[in-house]
């Protein structure tokens, strides 16, 4: 089994969620790497696209922001924010979009907070805010969420609901008027979670090699079902090689 870092594991875990033909909405950092890796490994006909309006960028170098000039080079179309979000809200194109996102807090139904910790009007910690996260979470049928596995991040109740997941579970998401699909997977530095098809509550799907489900639960502020947990298939040699040599040779994101 090859050596790999947790960041590499997380990038590959997300890359595996991307199917050929998907339109991949990327944020910055590891989500961009995951999209690049998927395109190089198993989804050559996937399209990487950014909320800034860049579609199918070559990404000869890793961008450090979604507005990095590196996303503008050798793209199919250089559009605008209006174009990019309309593609997601449009049900025909939106159905093919998989959104990759992160947050400061997540709750048992995959709702996300990237705005404040504490009271909104007098926050203890202020974050960047939604950006396009609320939009992609509202519009598209499948999102993948990156989180650090920490008790203060997996909370029973968000301080602020920035991006809608499965809301209160069951059919509450569609009842609210949001896109039928929603969060598909949560990828952390210890495990992968998914959501029950019916209740839409988070469950532990897989733990990384050497991690015990109990260790994962210790890093969470709420209980999840661990009965379905398997051991995650670690990155293959080929996956790692592509990630390292094709996607981030400067290790700007992998560190």
């Amino acid at each position: 089994m090859p050596d790999y870092t947790l960041k590499e594991m997380m990038a590959i875990a997300a890359a595996r969620e991307i199917k050929d033909g998907d339109i991949v909405f990327c944020g910055t950092g590891i989500s961009m790497l995951a999209a690049m890796a998927a395109k190089h490994i198993s989804a050559p006909d996937s399209t990487i696209f950014f909320e800034t309006g860049a579609i199918d960028s070559l990404l000869e170098e890793v961008p450090l922001a979604v507005a990095d000039p590196r996303v503008m080079y050798y793209t199919a179309v250089n559009g605008s924010l209006a174009d990019a979000f309309a593609f997601m809200q449009n049900r025909r194109t939106g159905a093919h979009v998989v959104g990759i996102m992160g947050a400061a807090q997540i709750d048992p139904y995959g709702n996300l907070n990237s705005t404040v910790i504490g009271d909104y009007h007098h926050p203890r910690v202020r974050f960047s805010g939604s950006g396009g996260a609320c939009d992609v979470a509202s519009f598209v049928d499948r999102t993948i969420i990156f989180m650090q596995q920490q008790k203060r991040k997996f909370v029973p109740r968000l301080d602020y609901l920035t991006s809608p997941g499965w809301l209160g579970g069951d059919d509450s998401r569609t009842a609210a008027g949001l896109a039928a699909g929603g969060p598909a997977a949560v990828i952390t530095n210890m495990a992968v979670f998914r959501f029950d098809d019916k209740t839409r509550r988070m469950y532990l799907d897989a733990v990384y090699p050497g991690i015990d489900p109990r260790q994962v639960l210790d890093q969470m502020g709420f209980e999840v079902d661990t009965d379905r947990a398997q051991t995650f298939q670690p990155p293959t040699k080929r996956e790692l090689e592509i990630l390292r040599t094709e996607c981030d040779p400067q290790r700007l994101i992998l560190g």
């Binding site: 910055t28 979604v66 924010l81 705005t115 909104y120 920035t162």
Partner: protein, 325 residues
């Protein structure tokens, strides 16, 4: 909106003339790209106060305007500078210390709000934000909205689809138009009449420009009208949208300007450190902004090799191989 005559002026004049204290302003660009930094620095230099600032996803410009003490209210979707500052530093401090009123929207909502202003309609509909705190929690007090004629009475309105379930949609979020007093953009090319060409992604610049009562355009290159009209498909804003054209080479520095220069990782990394402390930030303001009389003087103070290192190469439009750690 002005006549299509000559609109060339100095940045000092443009800011003095069009940016008043308490003005509602909007700035173009996105996080670390094509922020109108020269104009931002001039606003700080002129000590404008109590600005009401609109942006969608903006990094360096928002943080410096907030840090410079110019902004009292901010409507925004995202305040960050990519890897250099996942959350804008002075912005974060100002909010946590209660010195800045913020109203949060999503990026698409802010884009639609500018688009509504550009289109001359009071709102546009979307499905973003249903059942979120963006819809349910308002930043500005209702009393402020009601007392200020420059603000709509509602942050947004959630309503039933008046066409039943047409387009499989039951509910929509209506977001109100933004009509800034002035929008400021930095673009690659313009002529003296105000014909504008942006290269690469336009972000929401076009919508922000058309929504505004006044538009200041700073440009990397000032070109002959004839040259831009030879390729009209590549131009975005006609002269009748533009009030001031200011020629400012390196006008987006330290953010990037596609096909001209990259962002400056050295500057942005140092900014991150300097912005972290109040005293070091005061020193930064003094050394970088107040001690230089204009953008040219600022740029002259920077090591030529560093500027050479971020100069875009013709093939990619950015500085290939730039050390960006």
């Amino acid at each position: 909106m002005n006549q299509p005559s000559d609109k060339l002026m100095s940045l000092k004049d443009a800011i003095e003339r069009f940016v008043a204290d308490r003005a509602h302003i909007s700035i173009g660009g996105f996080t670390i790209n094509r922020n109108p930094m020269a104009a931002v620095y001039e606003i700080i230099r002129q000590k404008k106060r109590n600005l009401h600032l609109y942006a969608h996803s903006n990094g360096q410009a928002v943080d410096e305007l907030v840090g410079g003490g110019c902004v009292s209210r901010l409507e925004i979707a995202y305040a960050g500078s990519g890897r250099f500052a996942p959350t804008c530093i002075r912005f974060r401090k100002a909010v946590e210390q209660g010195r800045l009123q913020v109203e949060d929207y999503s990026n698409y909502q802010m884009t639609l709000r500018f688009m509504a202003g550009a289109m001359g309609v009071p709102f546009l509909p979307c499905r973003s934000g249903l059942a979120t705190d963006i819809a349910n929690t308002w930043g500005f007090p209702a009393s402020l909205r009601q007392s200020d004629p420059k603000l709509p009475d509602h942050k947004l309105v959630v309503t039933e689809n008046p066409f039943g379930t047409w387009c499989d949609t039951t509910k929509v979020v209506l977001v109100p138009a933004i009509v800034p007093d002035v929008t400021i953009l930095h673009v690659q090319e313009a002529d003296s009449h105000g014909l504008v060409r942006i290269e690469g992604l336009t972000f929401a610049d076009i919508e922000q420009a058309k929504a505004a009562r006044r538009l200041i355009v700073t440009c990397e290159k000032l070109v002959e009208t004839g040259r831009l009209k030879q390729r009209p498909d590549a131009n975005q804003l006609p002269p009748f949208c533009v009030d001031a054209v200011v020629h400012v080479p390196w006008g987006a520095y330290p953010t990037a300007c596609y096909r001209h220069y990259d962002y400056d990782p050295v500057f942005l990394n140092r900014y991150k450190q300097e912005a972290a402390g109040d005293e070091s930030y005061r020193q930064y303001l003094e050394d970088w902004i107040f001690s230089h009389k204009d953008h040219k003087a600022m740029m002259d103070s920077i090591d030529k090799d560093r500027l050479a290192s971020i100069t875009a190469d013709g093939r990619t439009g950015y500085a290939s191989g730039l050390e960006r750690r």
